[in-house]
């Protein structure tokens, strides 16, 4: 008994010990994690339920009266004011218009968070100021010539299943028909592609529901491939186009070799929108100047503004892009300027394109969140016209065409495809959607935002009759685009809407003859007729066109680059990034390589000696890993300024063709000893080498 008992006891004791030890260990670890959680605290105060004491009410009343605020103003302030350290719920990515940039703005605070340089060199971000062969300058060149500005129009966030995924941002440059690709991990432009067919565009950028393609519609018809023709040959030689840029999500780049375009009649194609859900596989483009007016006011002809507005109807382009992709892949595209283009004849033979009449010079075409309706805003017609995708498909299947245009494109019977027309007011331009079954249309001439009800399945979501105007809120002034929270996706959020007003006139202090634009935040949370303006934000840089509003928590931005020595162009660790101990200057003939490490508050080396005429390649690694510990590096007189974000590696090359001694310094106020973060570049004059030898 005792003999068998003993080993059992030993095992029992052993097991007890192991279990006890493990439990204690776990308890200790848990306590440790908790302790760490307690210690990691932000500098933001916690929100406490508000209860106003009588004296606080009288204080608030006094301030409101002194500042001439009414109760609505106080409520608007409470809805938008964002205390220090509190973050916004949404981020608005807005085009920066002629500034060539993108602006990121927090909503509801309407605070400008950052600009992102895309088509215009921007010195703070070190975008285009890194000497010879600057990759930014290289990519901004159009046919060999630097085009150092852009007219950014329509930003497009990348989508997965028709919803913003927060990974990439695209934007079109109307002036030069270019597209910029921005990686939202580091908010930096990674690629610019130039359309090989057209000089300028307008309908870019719009993405297909899984960002397989980025749609770039044209605008002013030209001879495709930068050709030449006089207006007399307009109908024969001028053409419109739409380009489908293939996006490689893995690489984060547009793959130009897998992209193609479609030739279109020389109407002035305008905005586009991709179908989604039931209408996935199609996209829709508006057009105006189906009159094919060629202007010539100087010769006594009607100017474009009149000639292009004569007809009562223009054409909504309905394009089957999935079929077009197959046609392109099967090799039926011709090449123009080396770029594959599906000819108009091929498009017609394959049934890729047809038209639906649309009222007079429309602007936006916007697909409803369920993909069932296409809303076209009339611009010169007080209605929005709603098309049903089901009806379109049926009409196409039943060949319900009323005729063909001069290029042979079949035109669908308007009444067969139209679902509803809603009279919203004067100058309707663009439409967005919320989660309560409402649509919102900007009214340029009325300077207002119209809220109207959707029909179909959306009718269940609101109390009003379908396809009816509900209310209008005046905005100041001349609204162009508008943007509701995720309002062009399959699942809009409602809540906030931005009115992008072209004119501000008297809204702000006079800033001389050039005035800022006015972004107004509109509260669309409450259904029915309540839709107040909450906030006016002056935009004093460029003339923004479109913007998109994404839930802030969808963005997975890097607080610092992942590893020291990171190359932001390749988004990987760069083998050439100087490491600690490698600092110094080496020479190979007249080529000089400088390896620099930057850390608060010094560059190493601090003296760099080169000879006049040397080609200097300078590699700098920021050894910083702390959020916001950004350095800059500039050499005056050599037009060099770069931004060295924490852990970033940057390389640049220049020819030291100006002899002299040049201070270089850190352009970011990085630390208390920021001014001391400097050094000298000594460019020895050619003649001086003789006197040196004599010495």
């Amino acid at each position: 008994m005792a003999d068998t008992d003993r080993p059992n006891r030993t095992i029992q004791t052993f097991l007890t010990l192991v279990v006890a030890g493990t439990v204690l260990g776990f308890l200790a670890s848990a306590a440790d994690a908790q302790q760490e959680g307690r210690r990691r605290r932000g500098g933001t105060q916690e929100a406490k339920p508000v209860e106003l004491a009588p004296e606080q009410v009288s204080q608030l009343t006094k301030i409101a009266n002194e500042r001439k605020l009414n109760v609505d103003d106080l409520l608007a302030a409470a809805k938008t004011y964002t205390p220090s350290g509190r973050h916004d719920e949404y981020v608005l990515f807005s085009s920066g218009g002629q500034s060539g940039q993108i602006f990121a703005i927090g909503v509801p605070s309407m605070r400008l968070l950052r600009s992102i340089a895309v088509f215009t060199p921007e010195s703070w971000q070190g975008y285009g100021f890194s000497g010879k062969d600057d990759p930014v300058i290289e990519r901004l060149k159009v046919n060999g010539t630097l085009n150092a500005w852009g007219d950014t129009h329509h930003p497009a966030l990348s989508e997965t299943k028709g919803d913003y995924d927060g990974q990439f941002l695209f934007i079109g440059d109307k002036a030069n028909a270019r597209l910029g690709v921005i990686d939202l991990r580091d908010w930096e432009t990674k690629q610019i592609v130039k359309n090989p067919l057209t000089i300028s565009d307008h309908g870019a950028a719009f993405v297909t529901p899984n960002t397989d393609y980025i749609i770039e519609g044209g605008q002013y018809a030209t001879v495709l491939g930068y050709g030449y023709a006089l207006p007399a040959d307009y109908q024969k030689s001028y053409r419109g186009m739409v380009t489908m840029w293939k996006f490689d999500r893995e690489k984060g780049r547009i793959d130009e070799s897998k992209s193609f375009a479609m030739e279109l009649p020389p109407y002035w194609q305008d905005l586009a929108d991709a179908g989604k859900l039931v209408s996935d596989g199609y996209f829709f483009i508006n057009s105006f100047n189906t009159e094919m007016a060629t202007g010539g006011i100087e010769d006594g002809n009607p100017p474009f503004e009149a000639g292009a507005s004569k007809r009562d109807m223009d054409y909504l382009h309905i394009i089957d892009w999935k079929k077009a992709e197959q046609v392109f892949l099967s090799g039926k595209a011709k090449k123009i300027n080396g770029f594959p283009v599906i000819g108009l004849d091929t498009s017609l033979a394959e049934g890729l394109l047809c038209f639906a009449p649309e009222p007079k010079s429309p602007h936006g075409v916007d697909v409803t969140p369920d993909g069932r309706f296409m809303v076209v805003a009339g611009k010169l017609d007080p209605h929005v016209t709603v098309y049903s995708f089901d009806k379109m498909k049926k009409a196409i299947a039943e060949q319900k065409f009323t005729g063909k245009d001069v290029y042979g494109v079949p035109i669908l019977d308007f009444d067969a495809v139209m679902e509803a027309q809603v009279e919203v007011g004067l100058g309707p331009l663009h439409t967005q959607f919320d989660n309560k079954g409402y649509a919102y249309t900007s009214l340029f001439l009325d300077s207002a935002v119209a809220r109207w009800t959707l029909g179909g399945d959306f009718a269940k979501l609101h109390a009003e009759q379908p396809w009816k105007l509900v209310t209008k809120t005046p905005v100041q002034y001349n609204i162009g685009h508008l943007c509701a929270a995720e309002g062009d996706t399959v699942s809009p959020d409602g809540k906030y809407l931005i009115a992008m007003n072209k004119w501000s006139v008297d809204r702000f202090l006079c800033t001389g003859p050039l005035l800022p634009q006015n972004f107004q935040l509109v509260d669309i949370e409450a259904p029915g007729t309540t839709m107040p303006v909450l906030y006016d934000m002056p935009v004093g840089v460029g003339e923004p066109h479109y913007c998109q509003m994404i839930k802030a928590d969808k963005l997975k931005s890097w607080p610092v680059y992942p590893e020291v020595g990171w190359n932001s162009h390749t988004q990987s660790l760069d083998p050439n990034a100087p490491k600690k101990g490698e600092e110094g200057v080496t020479r190979d003939g007249n080529k000089v390589l400088v390896k620099t490490l930057a850390i608060r508050s010094h560059f190493n080396p601090e003296h760099v000696e080169v000879n006049e005429g040397d080609t200097v390649t300078w590699r700098i690694t920021s050894a910083e890993t702390t959020q916001d510990a950004t350095h800059g590096f500039c050499i005056g007189a050599y037009n060099i300024n770069i931004s060295l974000e924490p852990s970033e590696f940057v390389e640049f090359t220049f020819v030291a063709d100006k002899p002299g001694t040049y201070p270089f310094y850190c352009t970011e106020f990085c630390s208390a000893l920021h001014l001391e973060m400097a050094g000298y570049l000594h460019v020895k004059p050619k003649a001086a080498s003789v006197s040196d030898a004599q010495r």
């Binding site: 005792a2 004791t13 007890t16 010990l17 192991v18 006890a20 030890g21 493990t22 204690l24 260990g25 200790a28 670890s29 306590a31 440790d32 302790q35 210690r39 990691r40 605290r41 932000g42 500098g43 933001t44 350290g85 850390i599 608060r600 508050s601 910083e624 890993t625 702390t626 000893l673 001391e676």
Partner: protein, 225 residues
């Protein structure tokens, strides 16, 4: 020789005695076994934390010392320390960190061994584990003092910040930084190990001293007869 060894490791407990007084002999063994497990677990837990607070670091900077490594914002703290001429933290206690785990394993085995030595010499085996928490603080203080007092006189802020002894435990301050240092749970496990070891020896003595006396008495009688 055998006699000497027997004196050294103490008497073995006769089977009958063990059956009759199982609790008496099991208690010290159990406590010592538990104590050594605590010490082993402590390897995986922090021994010491320091938080540095300054206006421009709203989330603070953290330093966490384990017996064998240092984690946290070491890079940033080193970067800041270079302004006052303090050597990089990685150069401190290099031997201790390299040997830390082996020392713990050795102490683990020694305490385990102590449970099987039934003489007064057993306590010698446990001395390192008992003194370990004190040695840890002494060593930490030594390095903090050495680093704080030997600042590079050519550092950027030498004129502003004179050599000092950083606070090892509790609240301290340097420049715009406030520092808060405290022991981690690993350290408390080591303290627990030391305390349990001491308690274990109370029971150890209570169990084996009388047994040894009794057996020695018995042996003396045997020899006498």
């Amino acid at each position: 020789m055998a006699r000497f060894l027997e004196d050294l490791v103490g008497p073995r407990v006769p089977a009958e005695e063990l059956r009759n007084h199982r609790l008496r002999y099991a208690t010290p063994t159990f406590i010592l076994m538990l104590a050594r497990v605590l010490l082993l677990v402590s390897v995986f837990l922090p021994y010491w934390h320091m938080e540095l607070e300054a206006p421009q670091y709203p989330n603070g900077l953290f330093l966490t010392a384990y017996v064998n490594h240092l984690t946290g914002d070491v890079r940033e703290i080193d970067g800041l320390n270079h302004y006052i001429g303090m050597r990089p933290l990685g150069e401190a206690a290099a031997f201790e960190r390299a040997a830390g785990v082996w020392m713990i394993i050795a102490m683990f085995l020694l305490v385990e061994g102590a449970a099987f030595v039934h003489s007064k010499w057993a306590v010698l085996l446990a001395v390192p584990a008992i003194l370990f928490p004190v040695m840890f603080i002494a060593d930490l203080y030594f390095w903090m003092r050495t680093f704080g007092l030997n600042l590079n006189p050519d550092a950027p802020l030498s004129a502003a910040i004179k050599p000092f002894v950083p606070t090892v435990i509790g609240e301290g301050g340097i420049g715009q930084f406030k520092t808060y240092a405290e022991f981690g749970n690993g350290y408390w496990l080591a303290v627990g190990c030391a305390a349990l070891t001491i308690v274990g020896f109370v029971f150890h003595r209570r169990a084996y001293k009388p047994l040894a006396d009794r057996l020695r008495g018995g042996a003396a009688i045997e020899r006498r007869s």
